[in-house]
């Protein structure tokens, strides 16, 4: 019997998994942004000494995992499962990193929602009694994503003002069944929602309906009030998506504006010419594992709803004129069980 299920889309963990450690690596542009003091490693060269950006991304993934292990004083043999994914075809960044890591691995694809997909599934594995130690990680890279989803960089294409800038970086989190928090207490799994947006240069608008749906169902399922949260943070709605999300929620009677932040807005300064804001799987991953967890550990926030958001387009579907489905998974991170 699904005793831990709350309502339609949420689970409440009976023994909430604890976040043991986290690690972040970012590229030079992110390292010049307003959150630079919260990242573990800032690359000066976004090829990371490799021959291709794809190799660089996979190396960032692997090094974020290694660093998270080191910070927790773990070695990889103590990890029961790794859960990870990225944005490239056949999730090669994660899988090629796992090739070196020698650990049981589940590859995930949730586009930019991968971080909370990994946290949700990792927490479920632990609370279900299948694992004690889990590592979950994700990565993205501006230059690999650009040629994966849009145009070759050599084409020097102009970016419209609704477009977002894929974050170069990787973030990893270690979850345990026994630590001292912060804890993952609830997880709300999102539905794939598509209201017909077709513009691959306006992903915030494509993801907003899915993000609104997950937030609404989270509050319905848990019975929490907006006031109980110190912060509600989304992954990469960016400026265009933020306005649409807040409006959609407001229409449904949820006024979250005073509690709301978005990783895609926080990670870059407006002077960095990224247009609408940051995006990419690493956007939510590095802001969560860098800035947000530091704030929670320092007691700035006690209870946070963290929700990474994904646009589930593929280059093929875009070329065939398909619209862009969105998804969003939310987890409640709390200093108390």
């Amino acid at each position: 019997m699904a005793v831990k299920k709350l309502g339609k889309q949420t689970v409440k963990f009976s023994n909430p998994p604890s976040i043991e450690s986290s690690a972040t690596i970012v590229g030079p542009k992110e390292g010049n942004g307003p959150l630079k003091d919260f990242f573990d490693i800032i690359l000066t060269d976004d090829t990371y000494g490799e021959k291709s950006w794809e190799k660089a991304e996979s190396k960032m993934f692997q090094d974020a995992v290694d660093l998270a292990l080191k910070k927790a004083n773990f070695n990889i043999n103590q990890i029961d499962y790794m859960l990870g994914g990225d944005l490239l075809n056949q999730i090669i960044s994660a899988n090629f990193a796992a090739r070196q890591l020698n650990v049981p691995h589940f590859g995930l694809y949730g586009a930019c929602s991968t971080m909370t997909e990994g946290l949700t599934l990792g927490a479920m594995l632990i609370d279900g009694g299948f694992a004690d130690n889990i590592i979950t990680a994700t990565s993205s890279h501006f230059s690999t994503a650009e040629r994966q989803y849009r145009y070759p960089l050599e084409q020097g294409i102009q970016r419209p003002f609704t477009s977002q800038w894929t974050v170069t970086g990787a973030g990893a989190t270690i979850l345990t069944s026994y630590g001292n928090g912060p804890y993952i207490t609830h997880a709300t799994t999102g539905k794939v929602i598509d209201l017909g947006m077709k513009d691959a240069n306006n992903m915030g608008a494509a993801m907003a309906p899915a993000a609104a749906d997950t937030i609404i169902n989270h509050f319905k399922d848990t019975g929490f009030t907006i006031e109980e949260y110190d912060l509600i943070m989304t992954g990469d709605m960016a400026r265009v998506g933020k306005d649409i999300l807040l409006e959609l929620l407001y229409k449904e009677g949820f006024d979250i504006e005073s509690k709301y932040k978005d990783c895609g807005i926080e990670i870059f300064d407006e002077s960095q010419d990224v247009h609408s804001g940051g995006s990419g799987a690493a956007c939510s991953a590095v802001v969560f594992n860098g800035w947000l967890l530091t704030q929670i550990l320092n007691g700035v926030y006690n209870k946070v709803l963290f929700m990474a958001t994904g646009a589930l387009l593929s280059p093929t579907s875009s070329q065939q004129g398909e619209s862009i489905p969105g998804i969003a998974h939310a987890v409640t991170i709390s200093r108390q069980k």
């Binding site: 590229g27 501006f142 230059s143 145009y151 070759p152 960089l153 084409q155 102009q158 419209p160 170069t168």
Partner: protein, 118 residues
């Protein structure tokens, strides 16, 4: 004076494309195809010739000019070889541009590595 005319004609052609990028949902690839097609239509109808007389390289260098070259090539080849010219004329006339694009594209891909945008 030639430079000024070329600048104005070429600049106007590019400004129209920039407006299309900014104000419509057309992708850059579609705008390129649109320009080549438009150029060959204007070339075929003999209209583009007067634009070249006015703007010189300002009219031949943008993609409209390439479309015009294709059309002129086909007209010439059809007059010379008949029906088969429909297929041979365009590429023969464009051979210099296409060959140079491939050669220099290959050359520069050997010399330089792509870099991330700043």
């Amino acid at each position: 004076m030639d430079y000024l005319k070329a600048f104005i004609v070429g600049g106007l052609i590019c400004a129209v494309a920039q407006i299309l990028i900014d104000k419509t949902k057309l992708t850059p690839a579609r705008i390129l195809v649109l320009y080549v097609t438009l150029g060959s239509i204007l070339g075929g109808l003999g209209i583009y010739k007067s634009l070249i007389e006015l703007g010189g390289a300002g009219a031949t260098i943008p993609l409209l000019g390439f479309g015009n070259t294709l059309a002129q090539g086909v007209i010439k080849a059809v007059n010379k070889d008949g029906f088969i010219g429909i297929f041979t004329g365009g590429l023969s006339a464009g051979a210099g541009g296409i060959g140079a694009a491939i050669f220099f594209g290959y050359l520069f891909s050997i010399i330089f590595n792509p870099k991330t945008k700043k």
